[in-house]
């Protein structure tokens, strides 16, 4: 395909340089999956050789079933207007990831947030431990095994009145004895 030429070129260059898996998702989106030790060298290579000088985003996804965190680095190049997504997986136990705030200063903010919200350690990361939360002593809250509802019920006073928030339509039909119309039955919550 002609219109995906830039994307394919980038993918091929990185594939040959680092021997990693990758694909062209769509126009202007290239996705690469790499081992965590390769991340900083791929980022530096993309930044210096292919002008991916803008760090768009760093995000973390908790795959609790696999016992892994997925960290995605999203970078953007102003010359080709292309976005490169670099995915890596790290273990959930003693989660540790390389600190990249010497490549981009703003990575510091993302990493501080991930340290606080997921408990991922970044060796050498400078900055206060508290970024968003204050005096938090439970497990990092964005981990999927943290139950926010349970914590909220335990900690905060729950005003009575919420527990009867039921399906209004069904409550009304029970009270008045009317039939639920045929078309509405498929939306019922009590199935």
């Amino acid at each position: 395909m002609d219109n995906l030429q830039i994307e394919n070129n980038i993918l091929e260059t990185i594939k040959t340089a680092f021997k990693v898996e990758g694909k062209v998702v769509r126009e202007k989106r290239v996705e690469i999956t790499a081992h965590k030790q390769l991340i900083s060298s791929i980022l530096l290579f993309a930044k210096n050789q292919h002008n991916y000088i803008h760090l768009n985003h760093i995000t973390c996804v908790d795959w609790i079933e696999d016992g892994e965190f997925e960290i995605n680095y999203i970078i953007w190049s102003p010359t080709t207007k292309n976005t490169l997504i670099i995915k890596t997986r790290i273990s959930r136990e003693n989660a540790q990831m390389e600190n990249i705030d010497n490549i981009w200063d703003q990575a510091n903010t993302y990493e501080r947030e991930m340290r606080e919200m997921y408990g991922i350690e970044f060796p050498g990361l400078i900055g206060e431990h508290e970024f968003i939360l204050e005096d938090w002593d439970e497990m990092p809250p964005m981990r999927r095994d943290f139950d926010t509802l349970e914590y909220a019920t335990k900690t905060f006073y729950q005003r009575p009145g919420r527990e009867d928030a039921k399906d209004v339509r069904e409550e009304l039909t029970k009270q008045s004895g009317e039939e639920i119309p045929e078309f509405a039955k498929k939306y019922s919550r009590e199935k």
């Binding site: 204050e134 005096d135 926010t148 909220a152 905060f156 006073y157």
Partner: protein, 183 residues
């Protein structure tokens, strides 16, 4: 000498005091939550809250009304308590939106409180998410009615029941490093 208005009997001194107070409500400029976005429209030309004597004040010590514009994160709650205790009598609290009443859509969030009146006394609750400027003004008018009838005594209630409030506050704020005020 007493004066009777709307079936409420008041000594004339108190009546004059309340009348003056209800017509000059200085609102502390502290946008604690998303409801603060409807404050600029309320204060500016179309809704013009200043005709009710409502206007902004920059510091807590000059303000009469504290607006809690929505949910309070626990980190914010600490600052709000501090601000509330710095304010001078008479002081009133208006709480905006469903999230101050019972948590609203954030009922299951680990970081927002669910019932504001457990932590600081609330004079008027305005429901809705978020309340329109009309609702905000009607909340203020309700507060003015309470002031005029001499019923807005929640600040005194706070001082009298300080221990109960402190106990609730300290349950959530784990690290209590705040000065004590001796009003």
């Amino acid at each position: 000498m007493t004066i009777t208005e709307n079936n409420i009997k008041q000594p004339i001194g108190e009546y004059i005091q309340n009348w003056a107070r209800k017509h000059s409500l200085f609102v502390l400029a502290y946008g604690t939550g998303c409801g603060a976005i409807e404050i600029p429209p309320t204060m500016t030309s179309r809704y013009d809250a200043e005709r009710f004597g409502i206007r902004g004040a920059a510091t807590p010590r000059q303000a009469d009304v504290l607006l809690i514009t929505g949910y309070l994160a626990t980190k914010s709650l600490k600052r709000v308590i501090r601000v509330y205790e710095q304010m001078q009598d008479p002081k009133y609290v208006i709480a905006f939106g469903s999230c101050t009443i019972n948590g609203g859509m954030y009922y299951d969030s680990y970081n927002t409180i669910n019932a504001l009146d457990r932590y600081i006394p609330v004079d008027v609750y305005i429901n809705g998410c978020m309340p329109r400027p009309e609702a905000v003004i009607s909340g203020f008018v309700e507060l003015q009615k309470q002031i005029a009838s001499g019923n807005a005594y929640n600040a005194t209630k706070y001082k009298e029941n300080l221990e109960w409030y402190r106990e609730n506050q300290k349950k959530i704020i784990k690290n209590w490093r705040m000065p004590d005020y001796n009003w």
